[in-house]
């Protein structure tokens, strides 16, 4: 019988602490998001990147409307609450008057790709020195699981009960690919949080995006595919595989653009 190792207290023998429960920038509140939600994992990777680059004391977040709005009171970063879809314009104004700050938006796919598609595209075209972050789960999570502009073909939602059908519902928008094609964008990466390896890769994308913002290289963009078992109407444990099998093949993971701007030593 394999013995269970006690895990209720720190080890007695000499050891180094590598991770201490809640990351420090997320310790000011608790979120009440669903079991298996990928958004806290993404936000953790983002905040750890900010801290690793020592940018915390000049970082501001412009947060959209969705499940992730909960982070406005659970993340220890200055927050500017925007309306649905409007974060990129607020981020533009804020960054222009606080150019030494690091400004990022945090928006879901319903927010950024449905309501606010115009705003993010124009911000990219203008080369605004902000980082727009897209938490993409292919549904309107907060309102209960409806189709967004990124919902993939075959995905069942409350308004595509038989699965998204191109004839009736059109095709998903692959926003990272569009942003990569806009001249003003300096970095475009699409990552995911369905495995620890992908989370580590995502962390590198966030670091690169913020590094480039700090260097004034232009508009940076990070899209994160996140699990939403509730919005996908699957078991919590099936979330990561659902993402891998249905979202990743369409919204492909990887760095789509990096202007290779030389940043500090």
């Amino acid at each position: 019988m394999t013995q269970i190792v006690p895990t209720d207290r720190p080890p007695d023998r000499p050891a180094q602490l590598l991770d201490d429960f809640t990351p420090s920038l997320m310790a000011t509140g608790t979120h009440q998001l669903c079991p298996g939600c990928g958004e806290p994992v993404a936000v953790r990777a983002l905040t750890e990147a900010i801290e690793a680059l020592e940018l915390t004391r000049r970082t501001m977040c412009v947060i959209g409307i969705g499940c992730y709005t909960a982070f406005s009171s659970a993340v220890d970063i200055e927050m500017l609450q925007a309306l649905h879809g409007r974060a990129p314009s607020l981020a533009t104004g804020l960054k222009r008057v606080r150019p030494e700050g690091i400004v990022f938006t945090l928006q879901g796919d319903g927010d950024m790709v449905n309501e606010g598609l115009q705003e993010v595209i124009h911000a990219a075209a203008r080369g605004e020195r902000v980082t727009c972050v897209l938490l993409n789960n292919g549904v309107f999570g907060e309102t209960g699981g409806h189709m967004t502009a990124t919902t993939v073909i075959g995905q069942r939602t409350k308004n595509t009960l038989e699965g998204r059908d191109p004839a009736a519902h059109g095709y998903p928008i692959l926003l990272s690919d569009i942003i990569a094609g806009i001249q003003g964008s300096a970095f475009v990466g699409r990552g995911s949080v369905n495995s620890a390896g992908e989370v580590a890769r995502l962390g590198r994308m966030f670091r690169r995006a913020f590094e480039l913002q700090a260097a004034g290289a232009g508009f940076t963009f990070v899209e994160v595919l996140t699990m939403c078992p509730t919005g996908w109407f699957v078991e919590v444990q099936e979330g990561p595989d659902y993402l891998k099998d249905h979202l990743s093949p369409v919204h492909t993971i990887g760095v789509l653009k990096d202007v290779g701007h030389a940043v500090g030593a």
Partner: protein, 336 residues
């Protein structure tokens, strides 16, 4: 200089360092003026791709602690309504210019075209000299109350030329903007938040926040200084009420009629919200009621008529169909 240019100069003189707008006649020249003036003083002017983005950018800039403004005409302000509503609950100081077109935007400005039972402070200058002052006052009031202030102008104001001096006017001390964002409180355990969903303090109930914002509306109603111009009201049997640029015509016509012996006077509210009820009633005391005139006859009269039982204007609200500038008294005139 032309009105639009003078307004731009006045904004810069007031310390406005961020402006965003979308071209629309007759607002466009203000945007052009700001595009020319702001870079020279280290400010930013953005030709936004839509009115929605213009108001968003101004909101973001204001949240960063800078005096920020946007504007349009009534139709463009219609597009901005969600943001103009929520900016009140977010307690973001913003100056909003409406260089109104012919249709008149009194209700939009004073009743709010958006959701949430909010109010903007509304100022309506009659000429360029006054516009220079009211624009600067708007920034002061916006900062004082942490609420958007709308300056209601029009095509005439934008395009008339007058000799004016758009120098800075000091309206007094204001508290520092320690609520504004710059990133410095991130990681401190108490990072600042600017949000329409809650106040600056710890996250409490949305209902509590809305109640506080409602109280702030009442406080503005009580405390914003009423601004009114009146003339020839002594012994007047009729008093004409008008706001904005038509007020200039009314002022002129009334003085000519007085010179010809007609017992007529005028009162011109400069604040449209909070509406200076007592000042208007005092100016009109003893006179016959007269339907309010403006570029859209009768609109302003719904403010008086629906609210102030003692106001002499009230009884003629129903017949408020006289064209602006007309000098003939209503046939149903009656004394108080």
């Amino acid at each position: 200089m032309e009105g639009a240019e003078a307004i731009a100069e006045a904004m810069v003189a007031a310390g406005c360092r961020f402006f965003a707008g979308y071209p629309m006649t007759p607002f466009t020249e203000v945007l052009e003026g700001m595009a020319r003036l702001l870079p020279a003083v280290g400010g930013v002017c953005i030709n936004a791709e839509s009115e929605l983005e213009a108001v968003g950018m101004a909101w973001g800039a204001a949240a960063g602690g800078v005096r920020a403004a946007t504007g349009s005409v009534g139709q463009g302000l219609s597009l901005m309504q969600e943001s103009l509503s929520e900016a009140c609950n977010a307690q973001v100081p913003l100056v909003v210019l409406n260089m109104a077109r012919g249709q008149g935007d009194y209700f939009q400005a004073t009743r709010g075209g958006g959701h949430g039972d909010y109010r903007h402070i509304v100022l309506a200058p009659a000429d360029i000299t006054e516009a220079i002052r009211t624009v600067q006052l708007a920034f002061h009031l916006a900062d004082e109350w942490r609420n958007p202030v709308t300056v209601l102008g029009d095509y005439y104001l934008a395009h008339v030329q007058e000799a004016v001096d758009p120098g800075p006017i000091d309206f007094g001390e204001l508290p520092p903007k320690d609520w504004a964002l710059d990133g410095a409180s991130s990681g401190s355990g108490a990072a600042k938040v600017v949000s329409p969903l809650r106040g600056d303090g710890p996250a409490g109930s949305y209902g509590d926040h809305l109640a506080r914002m409602g109280e702030r509306v009442k406080a503005m109603e009580r405390s914003v200084e009423p601004l009114v111009e009146s003339g020839h009201t002594d012994g007047a049997e009729l008093v004409v009420v008008a706001y904005g640029t038509p007020g200039r015509y009314v002022r002129y016509v009334v003085s000519r009629m007085r010179a010809a012996g007609v017992p007529v006077g005028f009162v011109r509210p400069i604040n449209l919200w909070p509406f200076p009820y007592e000042a208007v009633a005092r100016a009109a005391e003893g006179a016959a009621p007269w339907p309010c005139t403006s570029s859209t006859p009768g609109r302003c009269s719904t403010t008086c008529g629906s609210r102030c039982a003692a106001c002499p204007c009230r009884s003629s609200v129903a017949s408020a169909t006289t064209a602006p500038g007309s000098a003939s008294p209503p046939t149903s005139a009656s004394r108080r």
